[in-house]
Structure formats: C-alpha cells, structure tokens
C-alpha cells in the first residue's frame, strides 16, 4: 500500500482488568472503504470509538494523515460519525441538524445554507429540510445522519452498524447508497457490521475481528476464498468442516474417513499422523464426479431440502456431514435419502484450517 491515510498501530484497550482490544493493527489507504466484521462483543465498536476519540487506547497509537491523533479530543479530529441509533438532535429540524457541524465550525450562514441544500440533494431528501427527526422514517433519519456527518467535509467517516436498526429492504438500498456516496466523495471510511453479506458486498477490504484482534484483513474475495484462520472460515459464509488425518506430509496426502485426498502444497508445517480440519464451501462441491474436479469422496445422502430454485443436499461421509446445493432441474429427479453418492471438488478449493 502507498502511504496509508489511517494507521492503527498496536492498539490495546483495557477496561479495568479486562482487555477487549489486543494488538490491533490496520492501515487504511486514502479513499478506502474498510469494514470491521465480527461477532457481538469482539471489540469492533471499541476500536471505532478509539479512532473517533471517545475512548483512549491503553497502548499503541492512531495516525491520520501522518499526524498522531491518539490523544486528541473527539471535537478536534475532523471525523464524521454515524451511529446505530441515528442520534439526530430531536430539538432541531433536518436542516439544522445537517448545519450543526458547519455552525460549530464557524461557517458563515449563506455558505452553510448552500452546503445543507447540497447535502439534502445528495441524500435525495430535499423536501425534508424543515421536518423534525420524529417525523421521519428510520431510513430517512439515518440518511440525514449521514448527511450531517459528511457536511463538514471530514477526512474520515466512521459508521457503527448504521443499518442494523432498519428493515431488510431499506438496509440493502441504503448500503448501496452509502457506498456510492463514499466512492463519489472519495472519503476514507470504516464501517462496522456483524452482517457478513453487508461487509462482503460493499467493502474494499474487510477486517474480520475476533476476541479483540484482527484475525484477517483482506479483500472480500480473499476473506471468503482464502480465510486465514479457522474462525474466519467459519464466520464468513457457510462451511463444511471435515476431519482429516495426514498420511504423507511430504506429498500432501490426507485421509478423510479412510479415503485419500491429495492436497499438494497446503500442509505447510503438518507432520504425518497429525489430525487436521479441512473445509469446503458448499458451492465448491458437486454431487457426482464432475470433469475438472480432481478429488472425490464417497458417502450417503443424509438429508434433502427442496428450496425452490436450489436443492440443498447433505451427504454423510463417515462421521462428517457435507452440505451442498444443486440447481433444481425439472427433468432430473432429486436425490433420495439413503442412496450412495459421490461428491467431487477441486483440491485447490479445500481449505486447511489452522
């Protein structure tokens, strides 16, 4: 990466005796959109609040635009923030809410008015200027909150689960809108979510967090296809985990339920006789032997769920169960529970979880 715009370096945060963020490192390029993804309580909000200045790191430092801001007060950071609960000022109209940061910053009224109008156009709510927050829907309130955060032209935009209070449809349209506005303005953004689909669909990169650490930082493609840890593999997407036993570490031979699979070059560090967790995404597996798939396993159909356009099939292989989806095809009958079946996949798609 070129010079990062935001750099979080070895940051730790403890509340009393409990450490909730541990050695957190992240560099964010200018204009980049990075999501923090992780389960509840993993420290996403805490890291974001340290970047905003609401919490002071117990150790480490935070650099923005080459300047150490670790000890700067929130109102001196020129950062925009959008909260889960909207947090619009209930006593102010929409226009006054958006103008708040401009007024505090001493912008002359005509300029501020112009900027407010510009912001209202941007979020496509120009007719709402004189309404009060309680007269707006949740989605509208959150768009106003976004406009309010962006109006003073912050260098950094922080969003803490901005969509989780909204219903599914609004959530999807608003996330697209947030992303397109962010791209247009080129504003460096951190977006906190525990919804993996949300993170995968709009981020340049994702930091998957667990237990106060960044488990993996990478593009959605990398996170999904090459998860670095067991946690990431399990947390992002659906995953079939199989127990394997290394039979020949040198040539990459592994046994699953006494059936051999060859995983060349993936067993770095494992010795013959080790037990491994192997993982496969459902979409990497086909029912039956398929051309192009260099590995296969035999088992028995355990469950069949008809879901409309797809049929979800679970295949038992010894003590392991593997889920896979096949397309519903009106000319071929669905698999039958109890039948013998082979599954095949490309050995390159098999993940070895450490």
């Amino acid at each position: 990466m070129a010079e990062p715009f935001l750099s979080i370096q070895h940051v730790r945060k403890s509340f009393g005796a409990t450490t909730v963020v541990e050695d957190f490192n992240l560099d964010v390029a200018p204009g980049e959109f990075v999501s923090f993804l992780g389960p509840s309580g993993c420290g996403k909000t805490t890291v974001l609040r340290m970047v905003a200045g609401f919490e002071e790191p117990s150790a480490g430092k935070i650099v923005v635009g080459g300047k150490d801001i670790t000890r700067l007060k929130p109102n001196q950071r020129n950062v925009g923030m959008v909260f889960q609960a909207y947090a619009l000022f209930p006593n102010l109209t929409v226009a006054q809410n958006i103008a708040f940061g401009l007024k505090v910053g001493g912008m002359p009224k005509p300029d501020a008015d112009r900027r407010v109008a510009e912001m209202l156009d941007m979020i496509k709510l120009p007719q709402m200027a004189d309404r009060y927050p309680y007269q707006l829907s949740g989605g509208q309130q959150q768009r106003i909150a976004l406009a309010r955060a962006i109006a003073p032209k912050p260098k950094l935009l922080l969003l803490d689960e901005p969509l989780s209070a909204l219903d599914a449809k609004v959530r999807i349209s608003l996330r697209e809108e947030i992303r397109s506005i962010q791209k247009k303005l080129g504003i460096t953004t951190i977006f906190v979510t525990h919804d993996q689909e949300e993170a995968l669909s709009i981020s340049d990169r994702i930091a998957v967090m667990y237990g106060g650490r960044a488990e993996q930082v990478g593009t959605p493609f990398e996170i999904y296809n090459r998860p670095a840890t067991k946690f990431v593999a399990n947390f992002v997407g659906t995953l079939n985990v199989l127990e394997g036993k290394v039979t020949d570490a040198a040539s990459g031979k592994v046994q699953v339920n006494s059936q051999e699979v060859s995983l060349k070059g993936k067993l770095n560090g494992s010795k013959s006789g080790d037990t491994l967790s192997l993982a496969l995404r459902p979409e990497a597996i086909s029912l039956g032997r398929q051309p192009g798939h260099d590995a296969s396993l035999s088992g028995e159909i355990a469950e069949v769920h008809f879901l409309g356009s797809v049929i979800r099939v679970r295949v038992g292989i010894g003590g392991n169960t593997v889920s896979l989806d096949t397309f519903n095809n009106s000319t071929t009958p669905p698999p039958v529970v109890g039948d013998k079946a082979d599954i095949s996949f490309s050995s390159g798609d098999m993940l070895v979880l450490h």
């Binding site: 905003a52 609401f54 109102n75 947090a87 006593n91 708040f100 505090v104 955060a149 003073p152």
Partner: protein, 263 residues
C-alpha cells in the same frame, strides 16, 4: 359494581370539598370588606398598597435570579452525573433532598454565623450581599424540585449518544449544553422553574431572618394586623400559582414534540 361507583364518587366529592370549601370561604370572606355588600375593596387596598408592589417585585426578581442560579447549577450537574458519573447518582439525589429535611431556619442561622457583618466574609454587611445570600439560600431550597425535574427530562433523551454526536461534529461542552442538552430538557427546566417561583414568592423564614423586604414577611405582617386583606392576598397568590401551573401545561403543548421523543 354500583356500590363501587358510589364510593368512587364519594371519595371524589370529599376530596373536592376538602379542596374547594376553604377556597370558596376565603373568596367569600375577601369580598366582604364593605359592610352588607360584596365588593373588591380588599383587593383594591392590597393591590394599591405600595408595600405590596415593592415586596412583590422584590420577590419576583429574587425568584428570577434563583431560577437562573438553579438552572446553572442543576443542568450541568445532572447532565454530568448521567453522562460520566452514574454511580454517584444516589449520593447526589440524597444531597438534593437535604433541603427538605433540614429546616430553612437552620440554613439561615448558619448563614448569619458565617457571613455576619463582623465575620471574615461579611456578606450580610451590605444589601447586595444579603440579597445574594437570599438567592443562594433559595436555590438550595428549590434544589429537590429542580434536580428531580431536570433529571426526569434527561431520562427522555439518549444523553450519551447525543453528546457524542455533537462532540464529533466539533462542539465543545458549552455548545453541547446550550444547543443540545438544554433545549431538549426545556420543558422539565420550566416546570422546575415554576416550582421554584412558587416557593420563592411565598417563602417567609429566610427572607424574614435575613431582613429582606420580600413578599413573605409582608404577607405575614398583613395577616397579623388586618382581617380582609390577607384573604384577598391569599386568593391573589393562589391565582398566581395556578397561573404558573397552567403556563407549564400550555408551554409543554407548544414546545416541539420532538423534545420529549428520543429516537
């Protein structure tokens, strides 16, 4: 069912009688200054008395300063307790209740001893100093009402998130309190203010012992020496108090609804 209804009405009527009979009797009595006919003579005498005007004005001004002082002390305190020191809330609540338990006379004697004209801080040596002490004492007396009102108002908004939203937009503490917190608890502050007003207007002990020309001592003096005028004065005071109460109601209707609706 039927008898339940009867008892409900019975209790209601008893309550109403308890409240209205003395009121009606006082009104009736206040109108009888002129022999044989009803007249507003007592009211004319009271309202025309320059002493009445002077003491009443004095008390109104003291009340206004008391309210200002109370708001300046209570709003930031209650806000800070909610925001940063919630564990101190029971203690602060207890302290604000003390004026209800400690008689005003104790406070005044404390003042007289501490600030007498030959003490190191001779507040009582000058009129201005004594007036200031009176305001401070009244602010203490009004504390239980003011604090409770403001604290209840703060409960209706998300103090922490709103504070952070304002902070990240660049606002300092002064701006946050003046533009975000105060407007959202304005109705609560106003009801606290009117209660303070009602207390200050009728207060006797402090004003009398600090020898201030306030309305309370004037009222007391009148009661001791006249017959009809005190009744008229009571009715006037009653109207003022109820005027304050209705004003709270009206204001809370006119205020933006948003002020009482957190997200």
């Amino acid at each position: 069912m039927k008898s339940g209804r009867f008892w409900a009405w019975f209790v209601f009527l008893m309550g109403a009688a308890y409240f209205f009979i003395p009121l009606i009797a006082t009104i009736e009595f206040s109108l009888r200054m002129r022999r044989g006919v009803y007249s507003f003579d007592a009211y004319k005498v009271v309202l025309g008395d320059s002493q009445f005007q002077a003491t009443f004005m004095f008390s109104v001004i003291v009340a206004v300063f008391t309210i200002l002082l109370g708001v300046l002390i209570v709003v930031p305190t209650a806000y800070w307790i909610r925001l940063r020191l919630p564990q101190l809330r029971p203690i602060v609540e207890f302290i604000t209740l003390l004026p209800l338990v400690i008689p005003a006379i104790v406070i005044v004697f404390g003042y007289i001893r501490m600030y007498g004209s030959n003490s190191p801080l001779p507040f009582l040596g000058s009129n201005l100093g004594a007036n200031a002490l009176l305001v401070i004492g009244y602010a203490a007396l009004a504390l239980p009402y003011m604090y409770r009102a403001v604290d209840t108002g703060l409960r209706t908004i998300d103090v922490r998130t709103l504070t952070e939203a304002a902070q990240i937009l660049g606002a300092g503490w002064g701006t946050i309190i003046a533009r975000v917190i105060l407007p959202n608890v304005l109705i609560a502050v106003l009801s606290g203010a009117f209660l303070t007003f009602a207390i200050v207007i009728g207060e006797f002990t402090m004003a009398s012992l600090l020898n201030r020309p306030a309305f309370g001592p004037y009222l007391q003096n009148l009661v001791a020496n006249r017959a009809y005028e005190p009744a008229a004065l009571s009715i006037i005071a009653f109207v003022i108090t109820w005027g304050c109460m209705s004003l709270i109601q009206i204001l809370s209707r006119f205020a933006p609804k948003s002020a009482n609706r957190p997200n």
